[in-house]
Symmetry: C2
DNA sequence: AGCACCGATGTCACGCCGCGACATCAACTT
DNA sequence: AAGTTGATGTCGCGGCGTGACATCGGTGCT
């Protein structure tokens, strides 16, 4: 393969992030992005399915990593715990912290992009369901563990993001799990 | 107000559902829908924000009803229970079971529409969070109860739809809740 | 009756989106 | 040098969604 690989996708990503921050997501057209990256719109759509996908290009890789972690887990007899732990231990900052910051800023500023975020979350949970079943977990249990686990973690994650990454994600996650326990068993120990 | 009100929106909905079933969602253009309903595309967009919204027009009304049910609940000391019960007791068939069937069929056949469904689910959960907080539930507990409760119910709901509405939704919901309880407390009764 | 008003719809025009078909150009291979 | 391969550009199209404005038919008031 030639060695000019990646140049365009990379420039497109940076250009898009910049423009989204400067003038907003909706107000930025693909033409502008392509112009700043010095390619045509046609090239843009060869790398990204649509304008929003620029912000979520990595998610497929993340999903694969997380699912593999489930398949590699030493013990899945406690599927809910497995799911939340894997999520909490993942390195969400990734290679470029700056790009990550821009990503969050743009997504937070655009309700329409939250949708896309939801879908990615859903995809990951679906991957978990499949992986758990492969590990022998019964279907309904797998669905519950994956979906509930994702929700529990996402609450911890939101708190973590709010703290700018300063808080301990694992601790927040444990706290959320503990709270869930009291919610599931109301009127018992821990409520009064 | 004139008395020909509603005629167009109704015809557009029926026309859209028919065409979606006949030739698929993606393959159906707004022009075709409008033609069959004997209006112009401009009129279509006056009633529906976009093509997909035809399938989700009612969801805002549903959301308002569910949220109000939380506000009217006699006791919210067990928020998770409140959420799932309200969802399980709602009349999901609505006025027309046939339209509902078409809706499900079209959504199930289109991954892109599942996204929209997710968003609506998320909106409802967000409404629950707000309502629970108004009822005095602490923020994190409200978030957990709303999001986890929605997930638990959605699993029961999926099973119910699979049974064509024959199964008892409340019972399925209870079963899911019971399973969640065993998942949250692993290594105890029910696991070995 | 006559008239002013108003809401639903149509007409026109526009810009953006996403992609198929094909041409081009650089680098690598033999 | 010639062929191959992969990235990119050019052209053109059909669908999407909306703003601006015209139209037309009831409504209500005089």
């Amino acid at each position: 393969m030639p060695r000019w690989e990646q140049g365009s996708a990379d420039r497109l990503t940076r250009a898009a992030l910049e423009l989204f921050e400067e003038q907003g997501f909706e107000s930025t057209s693909v033409v502008e992005i392509a112009d700043r990256a010095r390619v045509t719109t046609r090239t843009f759509f060869r790398y990204f399915a649509d304008k929003a996908e620029v912000l979520f290009a990595e998610s497929e890789r993340i999903r694969a990593t997380l699912v593999q972690a489930v398949l590699d887990a030493p013990d899945v007899s406690e599927p809910l715990h497995v799911v939340t732990t894997i999520l909490a231990e993942f390195d969400w900052t990734g290679p470029g912290m700056e790009l990550q910051r821009q990503r969050h800023a743009v997504i937070a500023a655009n309700p329409g992009l939250l949708e896309r975020d939801l879908i990615k979350q859903h995809d990951i949970a679906t991957g978990f369901i499949d992986a758990l079943q492969r590990r022998g977990v019964e279907e309904t249990a797998a669905r519950l563990a994956a979906r509930v686990g994702s929700q529990v973690f996402s609450i911890a994650y939101a708190q973590w993001v709010e703290s700018d990454g300063a808080a301990d994600l694992a601790k927040l996650n444990d706290a959320a799990m503990a709270l869930l326990e009291t919610l599931v068993r109301p009127g018992r120990a821990g409520t009064a």
